[in-house]
């Protein structure tokens, strides 16, 4: 193709055979959403990785700012009581 116009970026999410949730697989360029699904199929599922594909225009994603990292996430560091490590698990419990 002779045009150099950039196609918009899409983020790709794949649900694998074992997985319950879609997971971020990567990103790619496509002219429209249908093309993005097909490109994702060819780029990210050709080794049998997927059962379902979501594509989302990258421009539609609202992200937290890297500058907010300390304010957003540091307060969680000192809250050890939020981790479930203060009680004994009975021996009979297997599937934990």
């Amino acid at each position: 193709m002779s045009t150099n116009k950039e196609w918009p970026l899409y983020e790709v999410f794949i649900r694998s055979k074992q997985g319950l949730a879609h997971q971020h697989a990567g990103s790619l360029h496509a002219a429209d959403a249908q093309m993005a699904v097909e490109n994702a199929r060819d780029v990210y599922t050709r080794r049998g990785e997927g059962l379902s594909i979501w594509v989302v225009p990258a421009a539609e994603i609202t992200a937290s700012s890297p500058d907010d990292k300390e304010v957003m996430f540091d307060p969680a560091d000192s809250k050890v009581y939020r981790h479930p490590t203060f009680y004994d698990v009975p021996d009979e419990v297997e599937c934990l």
Binding site: M1, W7, H29, A31, M35, E38, V43
Partner: protein, 259 residues
């Protein structure tokens, strides 16, 4: 090779029929492989490579089975790499040049639409092995038809330049598509035995699908009475020799080489 069904020492009609299916897949797969590293975008480069490998996978299964039907101990590699132009049974459409991406997409759309309908029918073949191959191939070819069909619409109903290119591809390839539906004695024998089908049965549905997509793409079907054929009987265009010289070079230069 003359067609003499059910002679001793192998089922020649079935062998011939499998070669036709396998050669279409191998040659189109080789053509698509020429795009690798040259695709319009990295995503399409991968998509064309995937489709190439789908086709070569089909060819492998068909040749492996053909070799056993023939009963002369030929392997899939012997059949792919050690036959010359006149022994190939692919239709002329699949050996036509890639041209630009528009032309490649038209070729894939015309062939893929045919092949997905063909393999859907062959999935019910009385020959269990062929039915099994067809059941795998039908999913692959249905995807090729969908993927290329969407590109025909995008390019045809796109810019002035993309429209012109894909129309030129259609004008060039359209005459070659008709060979897909010309039945000969081998086809009729296979259809009578319930193993294969008469390809002329597929034409009406094919034409309906193709006309619909061509219309959505704002393209025009060329009017021509020229219907080149003969590929199925081993009479090819000059293109096939060049394809085989790429495809077969290693086995010709280093017979039996493996890695």
């Amino acid at each position: 090779m003359t067609a003499k069904p059910e002679t001793a020492g192998g089922d020649e009609a079935l062998f011939e029929y499998l070669l036709r299916l396998g050669d279409n897949a191998l040659i189109l797969g080789q053509r698509l492989g020429e795009w690798v590293s040259n695709g319009p975008t990295v995503e399409l480069d991968i998509a064309l490579g995937n489709q190439s490998l789908d086709l070569i996978g089909q060819a492998r299964m068909l040749f492996d089975y053909a070799g056993r039907v023939e009963g002369k101990g030929r392997s899939e590699d012997d059949i792919a790499f050690l036959r010359d132009v006149l022994d190939f049974r692919n239709v002329l459409l699949v050996e036509q040049p890639n041209g630009d991406f528009g032309q490649t997409v038209i070729r894939q759309f015309l062939y893929g639409t045919y092949a997905s309908a063909l393999y859907e029918r062959l999935s019910g073949s009385t020959d269990n092995e062929l039915a099994g191959i067809a059941q795998k191939a039908v999913k692959e070819m249905a995807y090729h038809a969908r993927h290329s069909g969407e590109w025909v619409v995008r390019l045809g109903d796109g810019t002035e330049e993309s429209h012109g290119r894909v129309q030129a591809g259609l004008d060039f390839l359209w005459p070659y598509a008709h060979e897909l539906f010309i039945a000969d004695d081998i086809d009729r024998t296979m259809a009578e035995r319930g193993i294969g089908i008469d390809p002329s049965d597929l034409k009406d549905d094919w034409l309906e699908v193709v006309t619909g997509v061509i219309g959505r793409a704002t393209l025009t079907l060329p009017e021509t009475n020229w219907v080149p054929d003969g590929g199925k009987q081993g009479r090819h265009t000059e293109n096939l020799g060049y394809i085989l010289s790429d495809l077969q070079f290693m086995q010709r230069a280093y017979p039996g080489a493996e890695w």
